[in-house]
């Protein structure tokens, strides 16, 4: 049975849709996944090297090395975004460059660059966290929920 959307279309429109579907280029999902996997893995390998650098040359333990490593990776991605390299990497790798913490840095700095003509306060300040703000919000909220669950489990003696 045709849906309401199909009912509203004319035979010409339906023919056109069929023709369009016939000529539409299929998304190379597997290829994209592989690209994302390898580029994302490479970024994580760099992160691992940075954390080993901090463990080896400074007094950071495995527990405390996360903070400077994340800060360094975000700083790298900010530089690469400023030079226009990260955008090209993003086009090539997709989620592979967006999911690691470097994607967060890219989201912040690209918004800041985009809106810099509108002024420092209303432009850069107001739009900097447009995309990254939701990441921070949900990150902090989910951390709160997980910590609450863990606290309750510890109080009840499960953990």
């Amino acid at each position: 049975m045709p849906t309401t959307k199909e009912k509203n279309t004319t035979p010409q429109q339906r023919n056109y849709q069929q023709l369009q579907q016939k000529h539409e280029i299929k998304r190379p999902v597997l290829k994209n996944c592989l690209k994302a996997f390898f580029v994302g893995g490479f970024i994580c390998a760099i992160g691992q090297a940075v954390s080993y650098f901090y463990i080896y040359f400074f007094d950071f333990t495995e527990q405390s090395v996360g903070n400077p490593t994340v800060a360094t990776m975000v700083f790298f991605s900010m530089l690469l975004t400023g030079f226009g390299v990260y955008d090209r990497l993003g086009q090539f790798a997709g989620a592979g460059s967006a999911v690691p913490v470097t994607g967060f840095g890219n989201a912040v700095i690209s918004a800041a660059i985009e809106h810099r003509t509108e002024g420092f306060v209303l432009g850069v300040g107001g739009n900097m966290f447009k995309l990254a703000g939701s990441v921070i919000l949900f990150g902090v909220f989910s951390a709160f929920v997980v910590a609450l669950i863990k606290t309750l489990l510890v109080i009840w003696g499960v953990l």
Binding site: I55, Y56, D59, F60, T61, E62, Q63, S64, V65
Partner: protein, 154 residues
């Protein structure tokens, strides 16, 4: 015309050549490969038989693969690396190691850790103790510092 990639490769090869004759110490690769350092006693006049026994006991855990043991005046430091697939059970493994050691050696005061930094420092202390300039007192002080660092990670 020389491209920037050729310059980059030339720099990489030239810089790599600088390190050609430098001896590779265990601590340089301690984070990446199995070093298996010898069990140590900070006071080298004392026998290290008991420390060897502790290392043997800890190495018997199938989840662990690189164990360092250093015995000081007060504390005995036990550091190990956990096999990758067992890293989700780190707390449980640490609890089991502690339990086994305290049961078998009730008089010892154990500090157990699986932190890479602590392991690296244990290997570095082993290397420092090999030099004649490094005294027992200095070794004891360094061990105390490492134990303090371990307490911070918990």
């Amino acid at each position: 015309m020389i491209t920037r990639y050729q310059i980059l490769f030339a720099c990489l090869f030239l810089l790599a050549a600088c390190n050609h004759n430098a001896p590779v110490r265990d601590s340089q690769l301690a984070l990446m490969k199995t070093t298996n350092p010898k069990p140590l006693v900070t006071d080298q006049n004392k026998s290290n038989d008991s420390v060897k026994e502790i290392k043997k006991d800890v190495s018997s855990f199938p989840e662990l693969y690189d164990v360092a043991v250093i015995k000081g005046k007060k504390d005995t430091l036990v550091v190990y690396k956990v096999k990758h697939l067992y890293r989700f059970k780190m707390k449980k493994i640490e609890k089991n190691v502690n339990k086994k050691l305290e049961k078998k050696y009730p008089k010892e005061n154990f500090t157990v850790s699986s932190d890479y930094k602590i392991f690296l420092e244990a290997v570095r202390l082993d290397e420092q103790m090999k030099s004649a300039k490094f005294s027992h007192k200095e070794a004891e002080k360094r061990l105390e510092d490492i134990v303090k660092m371990t307490d911070k990670t918990k």
